[in-house]
């Protein structure tokens, strides 16, 4: 199982690829909407790419609870364990 830092790095790569936000800005305390300026459609793309990369399922009703990068990393850690 990937470490918290490995998941954050993987997620940062995805966010960078889809939105162009620099990977180093994608830190655990950052809010997807307020800090990284990721809108709901880009969030869908991030979620789909994360599902593929980490082999997890992130249900639609769960996505709105993933406010920060840390929330997403925690969810992926739990879903993958």
């Amino acid at each position: 199982m990937a470490s918290t830092e490995e998941i954050r790095e993987g997620l940062a790569e995805i966010v960078n690829e889809i939105t162009g936000v620099p990977a180093e800005d994608v830190q655990l305390d950052k809010s997807f909407t307020d800090d990284l300026d990721i809108d709901s459609l880009s969030m869908v793309e991030v979620v789909v790419a994360a599902e593929e990369k980490f082999g997890v399922k992130i249900p639609d009703e769960e996505v709105k609870n993933l406010a920060t990068v840390g929330d997403a990393v925690t969810f992926i850690e739990k879903a993958g364990s």
């Binding site: 809108d39 709901s40 459609l41 869908v44 793309e45 789909v48 639609d60």
Partner: protein
């Protein structure tokens, strides 16, 4: 008797699109006009959909009149006379008569020789569905020339106070004439990859049926279209990219052979996501008609092709990947040659 007489197909033949034409309604509706009724902004609409303005029809620009205009251009482009048409297929969800069909009226007003005529309901996939039917008719010898029309007045069924759809839906008509190719090797309509997924019929739908709309407690009102935007975005961007790839595979065409990509103009963000998924080379021209036309459902693909021919982004003979997808859910994709 020994059975039904079956006419053998004389020669194996291929089909192709011989001509294409569109009609864009006269009213240009800006984002500024749309946001008078919704809590939104020009910037929000542009970033979420790529739409700068859209076309809405006037009362005089009806489903039938817009279809006749588009069909006239397609027939002229094809060099085909109305009397040569054996069938007229109209795809629409906004011809507000349950019966008779728009197709029968259009076939008559065009001056066909009493061509077979019917409407189909396949929402935003309607043009590709109609094209598949037309192609099979021509190949089987059921018809010589078939007119396929996609036409909508979605503004009639749009809730102009719904911030998730008011900026999106628009009106217009597009038509294509399908006929036999010069030789079996000269076919211009590849195998269709199509299907439906009724489990997700709630994602895009008319909110209530006509009976409920008429007996509404607050008084009779037009039924409206509703959509779960994010879920539709996910389905369209990923599942539809797979269907598009299957259509390429079925036609024996790779992305490197492709010249033009014309997805249903649903949302620029869907187009971008699909293009990324398909890993289209940069040289492939991508239809972006939605920017000034909005989402015209069944009409969007022929309208987008017409625009690309006008701007020179597409040339006659180009290989194009087309895919329609929408309420149902339904979808259909083909590789075609641009007429």
């Amino acid at each position: 008797m020994s059975g039904i007489t079956i006419q053998p197909v004389a020669e194996p033949r291929a089909s192709r699109i011989l001509g294409i034409g569109g009609y864009r309604p006269s009213r240009v509706i800006t984002n500024a006009e749309v946001i008078e009724q919704i809590d939104s902004s020009d910037e929000w609409i542009r970033t979420r959909s790529g739409i700068e303005s859209r076309r809405w029809a006037t009362d005089e620009e009806t489903v039938v009149s817009m279809s006749l205009a588009a069909a006239g251009k397609a027939l002229a482009d094809a060099g085909v006379q109305p009397a040569q048409l054996d069938c007229v297929i109209v795809s629409t969800v906004t011809h507000l008569y349950q019966t008779p069909s728009a197709a029968a009226e259009i076939a008559h007003k065009l001056g066909t020789n009493q061509a077979a005529a019917f409407d189909i309901s396949a929402a935003c996939a309607g043009f590709c569905y109609g094209l598949s039917l037309a192609s099979d008719m021509v190949r089987a010898g059921t018809a010589g020339h078939v007119l396929v029309i996609g036409v909508e007045r979605l503004s009639d069924l749009t809730d102009q106070t719904d911030r998730s759809t008011a900026f999106l839906f628009a009106d217009g008509a597009g038509a294509a004439v399908v006929g036999p190719a010069a030789s079996p090797d000269d076919g211009g309509i590849g195998p269709v990859v199509w299907g439906s997924d009724g489990e997700h019929l709630d994602l895009i739908r008319q909110r209530e049926d006509w009976r409920d709309a008429l007996h509404n407690e607050a008084g009779p009102a037009m039924p409206h279209l509703v959509m779960q935007g994010n879920q539709v975005f996910r389905w369209a961007s990923y599942e539809m990219a797979k269907a598009a790839q299957q259509a390429l595979d079925a036609a024996g065409v790779t992305v490197d052979d492709l010249d033009v990509f014309v997805p249903h103009q649903a949302n620029m963000r869907i187009t971008d996501a699909m293009a990324r998924q398909l890993k289209l080379p940069e040289r492939v021209a991508i239809a972006r008609d939605i920017a000034t036309q909005g989402n015209t459902s069944a009409a969007s693909i022929p309208l987008a092709i017409e625009r690309m021919l006008e701007t020179g982004e597409a040339q006659s003979g180009d290989f194009a990947l087309i895919i329609g997808f929408g309420a149902g859910l339904v979808y259909a994709a083909q590789v075609i040659r641009i007429p």
